[in-house]
Symmetry: C2
Subunit: 317 residues, 2 copies
């Protein structure tokens, strides 16, 4: 399988591709914006997709914001969206708990936005934020008494993650019946800095290593999102296009879920990497190869405009 | 390969085995003691081994103590040892730096004992202990300026491990020339508690995930110890017996290094697990199977006493 430059498709094929799609899922950071800077032309391209009658969902692995805060970020960056179009892992994690019928108390390594979404579905938790270590190891370990009501551990991004939080999470996870959820497994947090900012995946790796168990993972590239889209949003995976900037999250999600996939080169993955993956002997790595790629999302605009002008019936599905 | 109950060996075979060994490496926690309680008969057994002329080395993955503190722990538990017989990962890590000719500055996630051993071989480091997070993510990330003199990252057990330490370590490791060392990869810290105490391996897993690089690992089951024993202690691996309580650290170390191996069942690994490993299709797992096992180290005493009485020439090598 090899990736096709979308703008090199014969125009009729492009039209036909667009006609075969009802739903667009788009990653945000690296596609629509870079940290706090909108990528030129992205809002207009999303508008054009909607003008063609496509339903657009915004998907992010970020777990620190609740759904309304994520909408706020979208709006600040120039995108209008309704609540049901904003799919962040704080919300999706709450969906998962609903799905399995879990209410009650969870131990959360995470931030406020995640907790707020959990609370909406009836999940309470001990206080989050700093959990200061001010004794030696023996007192720290001896001083922690498990809350018998806690029957789940949830891990998201947490600036205040530390040794004692890891100890608590793993102590709860010693009970094999304790549910174990991770919002996502991103290695790094995308920020425009010389420094390297660890992502949720690092916290998850540590807790999994200690607990000797694997978490249920919610965010991209895990296919729980597909279940939510089918069940709550009536989405047909075969008529869905996933747009992203990362092979091993966005595109892999699309491949796993049976979506069509479009990689834009404004984020993490480079075209050189795609070419490497195409040649890989590992079938898992080949799942990172998109169906299509473009230098930037904006490059879709011209094609879409031409489509809208030449085929007036394509403006509605 | 299958494990033999050492006490079931015909006596002449046992004598012959003991005659084929000059050096004993023994793990501590789970073999000699359990946390702060000596395992009955262990000091006497070690004394008998010495009486037979065996050189005994005490080996621990613990990185929190310096070599003298480790000697103090041995003494408190009833074992006399000289400094060169006490092999802890703080010391071994310092040996590694000497081996590669590195002096200078390192970023250390670890405790005092590790730092003291590093200082002895000319390695300095920023202050250890709590590294408090008292700003938001953006200020935290923006506020950290790398020290250009730091050209190595060392990870050991650290009660004050937290997000910002992970961020700093990974930011240094972004430079591919920055050396990356882990004292050990133990998942859990052995403590007699209902709670689960994360070990150095959890911290290492997180930093490796974020940095996208693997650390050089010093402690068991890595064979750096063999190099130290050969180079600094004139030990012949073929004439060495490794005694331990864990298949995937102590026994694996022995298998990798060409030592004979003896598992005692007073610690982590059970005989049932050994039987499972024997049947495994995975050649790596079969490396966890010891040559011999005993219920406890003390069971060696009777055999050794009989040996000493019946073969007076075996009291010296």
């Amino acid at each position: 399988m090899s990736a096709t430059l979308l703008s090199s498709l014969p125009f009729e094929e492009f039209v036909s591709l667009m006609q075969s799609i009802d739903t667009i899922l788009t990653d945000c950071d690296g596609v629509l914006w870079l940290e706090n800077f909108v990528i030129d032309g992205s809002p207009e391209t999303i508008d054009l997709l909607r003008k063609m009658g496509k339903k657009v969902y915004f998907v992010t692995n970020n777990s620190t914001k609740n759904r309304n805060e994520f909408l706020g970020k979208l709006e600040k960056m120039g995108f209008t969206a309704s609540q049901d179009e904003a799919l962040c892992t704080s919300y999706l994690t709450a969906c998962y708990f609903q799905e399995i019928g879990f209410k009650g108390k969870a131990y959360v390594i995470g931030e406020k936005g995640l907790c707020e979404e959990l609370q909406k579905v009836g999940i309470t938790h001990p206080e989050i934020g700093p959990d200061v270590v001010n004794t030696g190891l023996v007192d720290l370990v001896g001083g922690f008494k498990k809350d018998p009501e806690i029957r789940a551990v949830v891990i998201g991004f947490d600036l205040h993650y530390n040794f004692v939080k890891m100890l608590k999470a793993c102590s709860y996870l010693k009970d094999p019946n304790c549910i174990f959820i991770a919002t996502n497994t991103d290695e790094r947090f995308p920020m425009n800095t010389e420094n390297v900012v660890p992502g949720t995946g690092c916290i998850v790796a540590a807790v999994e290593k200690c607990a000797g168990r694997n978490a249920v993972k919610i965010g991209k590239p895990n296919d729980f999102l597909r279940e939510v889209l089918i069940k709550h949003h009536n989405v047909d995976p075969k008529r869905t296009l996933m747009i992203g900037d990362r092979g091993n999250t966005d595109i892999l999600l699309g491949t796993r879920c049976g979506f069509k996939t479009l990689l834009v080169l404004t984020g993490v993955t480079s075209l050189e990497e795609v070419h490497e993956w195409q040649k890989s002997d590992d079938p898992e790595v080949r799942k990172w190869v998109p169906d299509y790629y473009l230098d930037r999302l904006k490059d879709l605009s011209g094609l879409l405009n031409k489509c809208i002008c030449s085929t007036p019936d394509s403006t509605s599905k």
